[in-house]
């Protein structure tokens, strides 16, 4: 009885921590994005509210919450609101299978810093990832606006193409690790003394492209395409409902997919790797905190890289995007799969 209570307590704390960190961080990443974008364009970005605009997300949130909730008269109210829930929930749910660090003992209780270590974690990630298309398709449909509908159709087209690609791209690491559990994949990389990016560079590049496409980041931000479609499927949303979509798409999803990329290719919480030889940890002085810092550092760097790409590249056309997915990326992942299958016994030893 006592141990069950402790288990429940641990799970409850994990949920609170993950939700708080993810949603709070999501809000603050808007500030990070605005700063990065601004400095790339030689501007200082938000500077007035708080020190270097640090309180700007709070001010924005307050403004969005207090705005009038406008709804298009000819829209479908139920689907309109359902789309919001469908966007937010799967994106946050992905963090249930993201391992933040190795197992540790806390007052005699063994805690794995992962919410649910299901043995098909990756499957869950991509199942939830493809749920995002429903949110956007519904948002476009329920708004009863041509811009919103075109935006959501484009997004649906992209996700259908890139879901296939991303699934085949992660097959490589899965073969090398021999498991679908995210925690076990990291553990395997540590045991084999190998980040899978060294053997899977093609898969990593393809994964990055698919990640940009799924989260609607430049160069694949065709569903927003502010120059053509105003803001795509969010056109008819107002106030905090308008604020939630970019929050989910651009920040929470990018964050979750970056975390999955770190888990799959960059060895999760392990320090810098020399292939087949071992790990070098310049942060050893942090002691037991070092793995967590490594994980956060890698995710942050990947996220910043995505931002950097976003504010550098122009936008592809929809036909170019789907063409790349089916004609270039998918064959590449097949080739990668065959190569991995040949190489795998060397890694397994």
């Amino acid at each position: 009885m006592g141990s069950l209570f402790v288990q429940l307590l641990v799970i409850g704390i994990k949920i609170l921590v993950i939700l708080g960190v993810v949603l709070g961080l999501g809000a603050y990443l808007t500030w990070v994005e605005r700063k990065v974008a601004a400095h790339i364009q030689r501007r200082p970005g938000p500077m007035v509210v708080g020190w270097h605009g640090l309180l700007q997300p709070l001010a924005d949130g307050l403004k969005l919450i207090t705005k009038e909730d406008i709804f298009p008269r000819t829209g479908n109210r139920f689907l309109y609101n359902l789309a919001l829930v469908l966007a937010l929930v799967p994106a946050v749910l992905v963090f249930a299978v993201v391992p933040f660090g190795p197992e540790f003992e806390f007052f005699g209780v063994k805690v794995k810093p992962i919410l649910t270590d299901v043995n098909v974690g990756l499957l869950l990630v991509f199942a939830l990832g493809s749920m995002a298309v429903y949110a956007i398709a519904l948002a476009g449909w329920a708004s009863n606006s041509k811009y919103a509908l075109i935006g959501s159709m484009r997004k649906a087209g992209i996700i259908v193409s890139y879901e296939v690609v991303i699934t085949f791209a992660v097959m490589g690491p899965v073969i090398l690790a021999g498991t679908l559990s995210t925690y076990e994949i990291v553990q395997q990389q540590i045991n084999q003394k190998l980040w899978y990016i060294w053997l899977q560079p093609i898969a990593f590049v393809v994964y990055m492209f698919a990640m940009l496409a799924e989260t609607g980041r430049v160069p694949f931000d065709i569903q927003e395409a502010e120059a053509e479609l105003v803001t795509g499927f969010t056109v008819e949303y107002g106030g905090i409902k308008f604020g939630l979509f970019p929050l989910v798409e651009w920040y929470v999803e990018v964050l979750s997919l970056s975390a999955i990329a770190v888990v799959l290719f960059l060895g999760g919480w392990s320090p810098i790797n020399i292939p087949f030889l071992g790990f070098i940890d310049p942060l050893f002085f942090l002691g037991p905190l070092s793995p967590f810092v490594w994980f956060v550092l890698k995710v942050a760097l990947l996220f910043l890289f995505v931002l950097w790409l976003h504010w550098t590249l122009p936008r592809y056309r929809i036909d170019q995007i789907t063409e790349t997915a089916w004609k270039v990326m998918l064959p590449l992942t097949f080739v990668n799969l065959v190569l991995t299958a040949v190489l795998a016994p060397i890694v397994w030893r």
Binding site: A38, H39, I40, P44, L309, T312
Partner: protein, 208 residues
């Protein structure tokens, strides 16, 4: 010599290694870590160039009037010349030149000593297009455009420039910028070298 006209198209090897992406990324990262070039507007302000076409003003009588035009107009209209007051001779040429003449409301009055002077000079800035025709038309260099460009007001009445306001702007201008050389940015030493018009010395013509 061979002139380079276009970049060569990327080879397939360059495409595979995303050379085009890397070039773009290197440009943006360089900009990201260099100094920002922004003016933090309400806290810092740029000085507009001297020829900036902002709000209007009346230059006041201070002994620098264009001669002999000013004296001729004064004589013709028997204008009362008072130092520190507007140079306006109520010729209405500015109203004539204006594409929206109703924005001017100009009246003169006759003084007991038989001389005349301007009594009402209202300009409705809501109608103005800041084209500067009135300034060109002014024969006595009285009406001019200043560098005042923050022109928002709380009521329509505030956007009408009266004679008092015009004279105040004029006095302020004459104190601040009248003697300034006519270059583009007042606080830009770099521009001074490009905009050498003021330093240009014309070769003297030898008398035969």
């Amino acid at each position: 010599m061979i002139k380079k006209v276009f970049e060569k198209p990327l080879s397939w090897l360059e495409r595979i290694f995303f050379i085009d992406f890397i070039r773009g990324l290197s440009v943006t990262i360089r900009h990201a870590f260099s100094k920002t070039i922004t003016t933090h507007y309400p806290y810092e302000k740029l000085t507009p160039p001297k020829r900036f076409r902002g709000f209007f003003g009346h230059k006041v009588v201070d002994g620098r009037e264009p001669q002999p035009a000013f004296d001729e107009w004064v004589e013709r209209f028997k204008v009362e010349v008072e130092p520190g007051k507007s140079r306006c001779v109520v010729c209405l040429l500015c109203k004539r030149a204006c594409p929206v003449p109703q924005l001017f409301e100009i009246e003169g009055e006759k003084l007991p000593n038989g001389k005349r002077r301007v009594s009402v000079f209202n300009m409705n800035m809501l109608l103005c297009t800041f084209c500067g025709f009135c300034v060109d038309a002014c024969p006595v260099d009285c009406l001019f455009q200043s560098d005042i460009h923050e022109t928002a007001s709380y009521s329509r009445k505030d956007s009408v420039l009266t004679l008092d306001v015009l004279e105040r702007v004029g006095r302020d201008w004459q104190r601040r910028r009248e003697k300034e050389p006519d270059r583009i940015w007042i606080d830009d030493a770099q521009r001074m070298r490009l905009w050498y018009e003021n330093d240009l010395k014309l070769p003297e013509v030898k008398k035969q």
